[in-house]
C-alpha cells in the first residue's frame, strides 16, 4: 500500500545551522503519529517542509505519492494544516473566511455551502457565522480554524501544537472531529508539547531531538502514558 507520507534523507539547513538531519519516515494511510521533542528540535520545520511552505536542503518528501518539490500544488490539495496561528482574516466573518478558503481549494456552489454549514455546526459556531472573526475569542477562532483546516476533506492532517489556545470545549470538539468517521481514514501527524494529550490520541510516537528521530515506536508497546514517560522522558530534554 502506498504510504501517505514518505520521507527519505530529509535535511534542512537555515544559514549554517542544520535543523533537520537526514530524516527517514513512512506514515501509513490512516495512521496517527505524534512528534514530541524539546524546543528547537525541528518539529515545526518538519511540518513546514511536508506542507511545502519551505523547501528541503536535501532528501525527498512524498505526500500521497506526490513529490513536494515537483508537484507542490497536488501536495497542498491533500493537506489540512492546523497551527497555533488561526489562519483567519479578522475583518471577514466566519462564513466569509470559510467561503474564501473553500474556493481556493476548488470547492464551489452548493457543495461549499453545505460543507460550511456542516462544519460550523460541528464546531459550534453556526450562530456566529455572520460575525466578524476579529470579535471572536481565542477559543472560537481556534474552533473556526479547525473548520478551515478540514473544509476540503484533506487526506493528511498536519497539526502544529493544536491545543494552544483551545478552551476545554474546543479541545473536545477538536478531538471528536478527529475521531469522527469522516476523518478516521485520514493520516494525522501532530507536533505537540502536550505529552499526555498527544499520547492519548496517537497510534505512533516519534521523538525528534536535535534534528534526528531518537525514538520511533507504537503506542501499543507501552502499558500506558506513565510507562511512556518513564522510558522516553529523558529523550525529550
Amino acid at each position: 500500500m502506498e504510504n501517505a507520507v514518505s520521507i527519505r534523507e530529509l535535511s534542512k539547513v537555515f544559514g549554517k545551522t542544520p535543523v533537520l538531519k537526514a530524516l527517514d519516515l513512512d506514515l501509513k494511510k490512516g495512521e496517527f503519529a505524534v512528534v514530541f521533542g524539546p524546543n528547537g528540535a525541528g518539529k515545526t520545520t518538519l511540518l513546514k517542509l511536508i506542507s511545502t511552505l519551505i523547501e528541503p536542503t536535501g532528501g525527498s518528501v512524498f505526500v500521497s505519492g506526490f513529490n513536494i518539490t515537483e508537484e507542490p500544488e497536488k501536495v497542498r490539495k491533500e493537506i489540512g494544516m492546523l497551527s497555533h496561528d488561526s489562519y483567519l482574516y479578522g475583518d471577514l466573518t466566519a462564513k466569509e473566511n470559510l467561503h474564501f478558503f473553500g474556493k481556493m481549494y476548488g470547492i464551489n456552489g452548493q457543495e461549499l455551502e453545505k460543507r460550511i454549514l456542516q462544519l460550523l455546526n460541528e464546531v459550534g459556531l453556526a450562530t456566529k457565522a455572520d460575525e466578524r472573526v476579529s470579535t471572536f475569542s481565542r477559543g472560537m477562532k481556534q474552533r473556526l480554524s479547525i473548520a478551515r483546516a478540514l473544509l476540503h476533506r484533506p487526506s493528511l492532517l498536519l497539526l502544529d501544537e493544536p491545543y494552544t489556545g483551545l478552551d476545554p470545549g474546543a479541545s473536545l470538539v477538536f478531538e471528536n472531529l478527529l475521531k469522527s468517521p469522516e476523518f478516521q481514514g485520514s493520516t494525522k501527524l501532530m507536533v505537540s508539547h502536550d505529552l499526555e494529550r498527544g499520547f492519548a490520541l496517537c497510534d505512533r510516537v516519534l521523538i525528534l531531538n536535535k534534528g534526528k528521530f531518537v525514538y520511533d515506536g507504537f503506542k501499543v508497546n507501552f502499558s500506558g502514558f506513565q510507562e511512556f514517560r518513564e522510558k522516553c522522558g529523558s529523550m525529550l530534554t
Binding site: M81, Y87, L88, D91, E96, F101, K103, R132
Partner: protein, 226 residues
C-alpha cells in the same frame, strides 16, 4: 486565474469594510493637491507654468498616496498567519501576486478617480471627453507599472522592521522609468496633444508594465518563500 480574483475579492471586501487604507490614501492625495495648489497660488492664472507643474503634482499625489496603500498590502496577511494559509492553498504563488495586484489596482484607481476631479478644479482645467479618456489611459498604464513593482517590493519588505521606510526607498528609484513618461504624457495631454504625439511615452509605459509584471510574477515565489 479565477483564484487571483478570489484573493482580490477577499482583499476588497475586507478593505471596504474598514476603509482604513482608502481613507488615508484619499486624504493624503487631496492634501498634496491642496498644498501644491496653495503654494502655486500666484501661478495658477499662468497657463504655461501650470502646464509644466501640474502633471508632476498629480503624479506625486498618486505615487505617495499609492505607496501608503502598498505598504499595507500584505499586512492583513501577516495577522493570524494568513500568508501561510494562502501559501498552503493549492495555487501557484504567481496567482497570489496577481490577486494582490488586482486588489491594489482597484483601490488605487478608486483613489485616483476621486482625486482627479479635485485636480481639475484646483488647477483650473477644463477637459473634453477625448482628453479625459486619453488621460485615463495614461493613468492606467502608469498606475499598473507602479502597482506591479510596488506589490512585489511590499512582499519583499514584509519581514523587515522598517517596512514603511524601506518600501519608498526601494520603490522610488525603480519607478523613475514609469514616472518620467507618465508625467510627460500627462503634460502632453493637458496641453492638448493628440494620441499620435504620445506614442513614444505610451510605448515606454506598456513595455515597462509588461516587463515588470512578468519579472515580478516569476520572482514572487522566491520573495515569499523562506
Amino acid at each position: 486565474m479565477i483564484r487571483s480574483f478570489y484573493i482580490a475579492a477577499k482583499d476588497l471586501k475586507a478593505e471596504f469594510r474598514t476603509k482604513q487604507m482608502l481613507n488615508s490614501m484619499f486624504i493624503f492625495s487631496l492634501l498634496v493637491l491642496v498644498v501644491f495648489s496653495i503654494s502655486f497660488g500666484d501661478f495658477l492664472g499662468d497657463t504655461e507654468k501650470v502646464e509644466k507643474l501640474a502633471p508632476g503634482v498629480l503624479w506625486i499625489a498618486f505615487t505617495f498616496a499609492g505607496m501608503l496603500g502598498l505598504s499595507r498590502t500584505f499586512v492583513m496577511e501577516t495577522e493570524n498567519g494568513c500568508l501561510e494559509a494562502l501559501m498552503l492553498c493549492p495555487v501557484d504563488r504567481g496567482a497570489i501576486y496577481t490577486g494582490k495586484i488586482l486588489s491594489n489596482l482597484a483601490i488605487v484607481f478608486l483613489m485616483e478617480a476621486v482625486t482627479l476631479p479635485f485636480f481639475i478644479i484646483l488647477f483650473n482645467y477644463s477637459l473634453g471627453i477625448g482628453t479625459l479618456l486619453l488621460l485615463l489611459l495614461i493613468l492606467f498604464l502608469g498606475t499598473f507599472g507602479f502597482i506591479a513593482v510596488g506589490t512585489l517590493l511590499s512582499a519583499l519588505t514584509l519581514g523587515t522592521r522598517t517596512r514603511e521606510l524601506l518600501l519608498p526607498v526601494l520603490l522610488l528609484p525603480l519607478l523613475l522609468p514609469v514616472l518620467i513618461p507618465a508625467v510627460e504624457a500627462t503634460a502632453g495631454i493637458l496641453a492638448g496633444n493628440s494620441i499620435g504625439n504620445l506614442i513614444p511615452e505610451i510605448r515606454l509605459l506598456a513595455v515597462y508594465d509588461l516587463v515588470f509584471f512578468v519579472i515580478s510574477h516569476l520572482v514572487f515565489e522566491h520573495v515569499v518563500s523562506d
